[in-house]
Amino acid sequence: MSSRIVHIASNTFREAVRDRVLYNLIAFALLMSGAAIFVGQVSFGIERLVVVNLGLTAVSLFGIVIAIFIGIGLVSKEIEKRTLYTVLSRPVQRWEFIVGKFFGLAGTLAVNTALMAIGVFAALLYVSHRFHAPDGWIIVALYFIVLQFLIMTALALFFSSFASPLMAAVFAFALFVIGNFAEDLRGFAAMTHGVQRWLATGMAYLLPNFSAFNVITSVAHAQPVGGSLIFYNTLYALVYTATALSAGVLIFQRRNLK
């Protein structure tokens, strides 16, 4: 990776920290500690289930919100503050700017997730008193959540390369919701005929498939996650992220910044 990309990425990370993005951890910590204490008193036999479900869902939602709302502002904010012109007047290419921004936000989300993961495991230890072997699958679920963040960050950047922040947020959030129903979308496509079938199938394959990343429920039930799923999900997340980034670079490359 070029040093320019590393610089942009580290600046993006620092900026996110300065913007108090990591303050969400306080809310998360309160949620998890409250849930751990409360669940132990009101539920019988499903404490672990509730803590894992709630913890991983919170990690996912907090991260998605950050990925969307920080991601959509990464380009537009720089244009608005006119700092983009300073950056691009140096020997920095536009694609390096986009890729650097992506790695900066992805890094922020990875650190954020790692800190939240500590919270989830602490709450789990509080309710279960000790760790069990199947708890290891929670790490896989967290890894899948990070893969989702990579895709969402790339998509938010892609939209922010041409749309206004508000529209970019709407588009990114809509894709997140649709992506979670990707399998059903393919199901609907399979039930249609003719041109509609081709259109629906094409859409279903082009839109991101987030449903395969969601293993929260099965992990909460201590069910293992297959090695092949981990491998293919990783590959899928990487190529889809690269797709969205390439599209973002293409648009940003041709965008008139005057």
């Binding site: 297959g226 590959l235 190529v239 690269a242 390439s246 670079v249």
Partner: protein, 311 residues
């Protein structure tokens, strides 16, 4: 080549290659997590909880679960020795989310009650689902028809079937068959004819292609049972008259055939065995037939539907 053009070219290539790769990866991803989404249904504490969690979008969620139910059934129908353990919970969730989803009750009545391989083999669950449908849609005569159908075909409870048909017949706009079916069930007469009427009514009144194909396959099988029943009578009469079995159908002098060999509903000639039994040329095409099966024939574990069943 200018640097900007080079970046555009590389980004375009990366876009096309990565997009193609992501589309191709969806297949392996799906195979790596078979049924994962559907099996999550088993973890749901109750459809009522799901309704609260849907934040008011329960109609859309019901449609999604209904689609999942149809796909689940279609996907398992082609498997060897299929079981449909998720069909009831899926339909249960879909109808709890949208109690007016009449098509889901229809589907449940047709495919929850029959024994495998053609259904989940759970008539009590089918009755429970249908009664829930009636409770929420009291003006839908089809639901009473479905209830009577389950009692008649699957449980052989003719009094309950008659009662259900009669209740449905009193609803404005009900199919004229309903009153006739109620009477026939009360008399418990002419079972083959009654069954035929039931399947014809199912075929005519449903728009769901799986339900219609199922009805058509049953009607074909009923025609075979009817044909062979008549042929058996003629063969028995011939045997009584001559003391031997006929060597060909021509010897039977079947009215209207002028010595020709009778054919099954698909057009294949029936076979006459030396010991006076009538057999189907292709029994595998008549999953639901009870007569005409060769000795020692083991029916397939997969219900077979012909392309013509879907017309």
């Amino acid at each position: 080549m200018p640097r900007a053009q080079k970046v555009t070219l590389v980004a375009s290539l990366a876009l096309v290659l990565c997009l193609s790769a992501s589309v191709m990866l969806l297949g392996p991803v799906d195979r790596a997590r078979p049924q994962a989404t559907l099996e999550e249904v088993l973890y749901l504490p109750s459809p009522k909880v799901l309704k609260h969690m849907s934040l008011g979008y329960e109609g859309l969620l019901a449609d999604i679960y209904w689609t999942r139910a149809v796909q689940y059934f279609g996907g398992h129908l082609t498997q060897d020795a299929p079981t449909f353990k998720l069909l009831a919970p899926l339909l249960n969730i879909a109808t709890q989310l949208d109690p007016h989803l009449v098509v889901a009750y229809d589907f449940g009545a047709n495919f929850l009650a029959p024994p495998p391989p053609n259904g989940a083999g759970d008539p009590q669950e089918a009755i429970r689902l249908t009664n829930f449908g009636i409770q929420n849609n009291p003006s839908e005569w089809r639901l009473y028809y479905n209830l009577g159908f389950i009692y008649y075909i699957d449980l052989k409870d003719y009094a309950a079937a008659s009662d259900a048909f009669l209740r449905g017949a009193n609803i404005p706009g009900a199919h004229p068959f309903m009153r006739v079916l109620a009477a026939r069930c009360a008399e418990h007469a002419g079972e083959l004819d009654t069954a035929r009427m039931l399947w014809i009514a199912t075929y005519q009144s449903s728009k769901n292609k799986e339900i219609r194909a199922n009805a058509m396959a049953h009607l074909r099988a009923l025609k075979v049972d009817d044909d062979i029943g008549h042929l058996d009578v003629l063969i028995a009469q011939f045997h009584n008259r001559t003391g031997r079995f006929p060597s060909s159908f021509a010897e039977l002098q079947i009215p209207g055939l002028h010595g020709a060999t009778p054919v099954d509903p698909i057009g294949y000639p029936y076979k006459l065995t030396p010991d006076g039994r009538v057999e189907l040329e292709h029994p595998e095409d008549f999953t639901f037939a009870e007569k005409g099966l060769p000795l020692g024939y083991k029916p397939s574990a997969i219900a077979k539907f012909l392309p013509s069943d879907y017309n």
